[in-house]
Amino acid sequence: MAAHQADLELMHRVVARDDAAAADLMRQIGRDLYACARRLAPGTQAAEDLLQETMLGILQSAKRYDGRVSVRAWAFSILRNKAVDALRKRGRERVTAEEDPEAHRFDDAGAWREDADFCPWDREAELREVFELCLKGLADNQREVLALRALNQVEGREAADLLGLSRANFRQILHRARQAIRGCVDGKLGETE
């Protein structure tokens, strides 16, 4: 029996052109796919186009689903491939996991430099907006990792597999992305004080 039997049965119904099954599938994954598409695409219209193209791709290739991973993870792999195609057209930006955005803040002994100061952020109302702005400034591979990590339904190993990364590399890119956003948010909140 496949690991995800219920998902497999649902997809068999889709293959049999069952409208209700297709609608069920959309209800199950549509919202999370869109949340992920918004992270991966440059704007709202592009996210909606990506969602439409992905959902059509999922319905058309339902017969290829074999139940070895959850239908959710499988759907995200299709979303990711479509997003990468789009990114490739406009030039995909990557950063390597080795580039530590905080390295300049430490001295040779690995201690914080004197000017390092991390005050609590007290402007909650602006924080979400600044966070979203900083998110857009990340490299594409960092946004991909964050987008998949934010979706609790996709397990860590599956998320790393979807991106063709080892678990260790996935974790490292995730960490670098978080560091980069923290630095960006702190800088932007500091600018307007």
Binding site: G30, Y34, D49, W121, R171
Partner: protein, 89 residues
């Protein structure tokens, strides 16, 4: 104490090494010994505590807000996909 733990202890005395393992810590993927050493460092280091507080906030923001409902444009995108699929019969 094992050689590995002595190595971990030495590393966690450096702020830069602490900084490298914060995702592991915040995501709950850190072992007991490393976690205890990290707590010890944080007790002594105000800058690392300040950094961790900001870092945690970023991780929280990244997890939400969840979408409760799909915006109309996204609903339309799904409907269009369904219609295109039906038309292919």
């Amino acid at each position: 104490m094992s050689v590995q733990n002595r190595g971990t202890l030495r590393l966690l005395l450096r702020c830069q090494s602490v900084n490298e393992v914060l995702s592991e810590y915040v995501d709950g993927d850190m072992g007991f010994v490393s976690r205890t050493l990290l707590w010890g460092h944080l007790l002594m280091c105000k800058r690392c505590r300040g950094y961790l507080a900001q870092f945690r906030r970023i991780v929280e923001l990244d997890g939400g807000p969840r979408l409760d409902t799909l915006p109309p444009g996204a609903e339309q995108a799904l409907r269009s996909a369904l219609e295109a699929w039906r038309d292919q019969r």
